[in-house]
Amino acid sequence: MGHIRGAEENLTVSKLRERFPEATFSTRSFRNETTLLVRSGDLIRICRHLKEDPGLLYDFLSDLTAVDRFGDHPRFEVVYHLYSLQYKRWIRLKVHVEEGEAAPSVTSVWGTANWHEREVFDMFGIRFEGHPDLRRILMPEEWEGCPLRKDYPVQASPKWWEEGAAGD
């Protein structure tokens, strides 16, 4: 619903391929929603193009988050949901990030990415290169561990538990 589909979908993808012949990306479609998997090195220019091309105009960054594919390599997916206020449709971008690697920050393209990227950094420990103010946002600054990683326990971090901080 609302995502690009059919002919329009091919239009966006073919426009991108035309503009960036050397960039490799794959597309997947599920329930009428399109996912573009791009290389993190191409992310910024593809984002900028998606935002500024008059035929695409994905000017609104709806959402930015990550998924921990624990056990896979690369381990993380950073997921971007872009919306075009003009053409009223969403598109999903994804980049793969290996543990310890950084993803490029899109704060220079959309200001709203600032807090989203801080949240991903806080919850997954993914660093964003070029972020102006990358620090924890929801958890306390001295917190250890990244709560939304799959190897992080649901109830409490082991260290925190062992030291008896929970009982104080």
Partner: protein, 390 residues
């Protein structure tokens, strides 16, 4: 030239006009805000993490507790996302009831905003009236679900139950009287010179900045940008209903106020149409894998017993894939990003909470203004900290 000295003070996390546990570090030059830095997370309860260990139906009560002023809107976004993953559509009666209740929710949520926003700026009496009307809507939640706030009335595949007897009459009498009440609130505020003095030209944000910062909902429309997901990407059958989108021009606190008042009027119009067009029929999909069988059946039919047992012990599985579903909540774009690995629990759920994103615009609106204006600006963005921190 003398050295310019500023003072740094804390506003919150315990402060009545931050609407919850929000802490703002303010750098002040006299009474002028030089820099405003929000610190959030005091209400972080790890809802996205908890959701990963719950079965799909069990996540619904978690969504209630995010934006606790609009629990049914959150329910709706989540159940729509799961239904999209499953590839099912709920029966027309359930769709219309969902629209009716989310619009009533919008009114209830905007009433809390109106009351608290007005009391922040010093208009005490509006609060009492707004809460009187909200009470009527909270009573309706209680009628349909048994709970006044955490209703969890929408379920994957339909509703918890059909509307109780006489419910339509209750709604009817509410929407018959409510428009006059709205006129009374407007009499108190819209042309009140003190109200105008405190809100007009305050907390202005330019349309291009608003889009850049991801502002959505009435706060975005107050800048003159026409984006309402109910119109642009209709869900749950919104395309059948006639209503107008709110729209401002100046992007200030006053226009945000006007937009929300207008939205309440339009919500009444939508609720009226849902009552007129309410179809008959079932309120759940006919799929025993998703919807528990009626209790008497469990005692008679072997199959029903098996379905009952399975639903309560293992839940149901959802095809592998990922979806993003947005709705227009009272605060803006409420999105649910859901990743399924084909099991009976979500692999990852992310809630794109409008309050979280909208709060990011606060420094842009407040810097360069007086401290007193900050209170008006916070009220005008209409944040719910439960949703900011999740």
């Amino acid at each position: 030239m003398t050295e310019r000295r500023t003072m740094t003070i804390n506003m919150g996390p315990q402060h009545p006009s931050t609407h919850g546990v929000l802490r703002l570090v303010l750098e002040l030059d006299g009474e002028i805000i030089v820099r405003c830095t929000p610190h959030i997370g005091y209400l972080h309860t790890g809802m996205e993490k908890i959701a990963e260990s719950k079965r799909y139906q069990q996540v619904i009560p978690i969504t209630d507790r995010m934006d606790y002023l609009a629990p049914l809107s959150n329910n709706l976004a989540y159940v729509l996302a799961v239904e999209k993953l499953l590839g099912i559509e709920v029966p027309p009666r359930a769709q219309v009831i969902r629209v009716m209740l989310t619009e009533l929710t919008r009114i209830a949520s905007h009433l809390v905003w109106l009351g608290t926003h007005a009391i922040d700026i010093g208009a005490m009496s509006v609060f009492l009236y707004a809460f009187r009307e909200r009470e009527a809507i909270v009573d309706m939640y209680e009628q349909v679900s048994g709970a006044r706030m955490m209703s969890s009335y929408f379920r994957i595949g339909g509703l918890f139950a059909d509307l109780p007897e006489g419910f339509e009459k209750t709604v009817q009498s509410f929407i018959a009287s409510f428009p006059d009440r709205l006129v009374e609130y407007e009499d108190l505020l819209t042309r009140n010179p003190i109200w105008i003095e405190r809100t007009r030209g305050v907390g202005v944000i330019k349309p291009q900045d608003a889009v850049d910062l991801g502002l959505s909902g009435p706060s975005l429309r107050a800048c003159g940008i026409a984006w309402d997901i109910r119109k642009s990407n209709p869900y749950s059958g919104y395309e059948q209903f006639r209503f107008e989108m709110s729209r401002g021009t100046h992007g200030d606190v006053y226009d945000r106020y006007l937009c929300r008042i207008f939205e309440m009027q339009q919500s009444v119009a939508i609720v009226r149409q849902t009552l007129e067009s309410l179809p008959g029929g079932p309120v759940v999909v006919a799929d025993p894998k998703l919807i528990p069988p009626p209790k008497p059946m469990v005692k008679q039919s072997m199959e029903a017993l098996i379905h009952h047992f399975l639903l309560w012990s293992a839940g149901f599985t959802v095809p592998e894939g990922e979806v993003y579903q947005s709705i227009e909540s009272p605060r803006g774009e409420y999105g649910v990003y859901l990743v399924s690995d084909g099991s009976n629990t979500p692999y990852r759920v992310h809630f794109r909470a409008p309050s979280f994103v909208n709060l990011q615009s606060l420094p842009r609106m407040a810097e360069g203004r007086l401290v007193a204006d900050l209170v008006a600006i916070i009220g005008s963005i209409d944040i719910v900290l439960g949703e900011v921190d999740r």
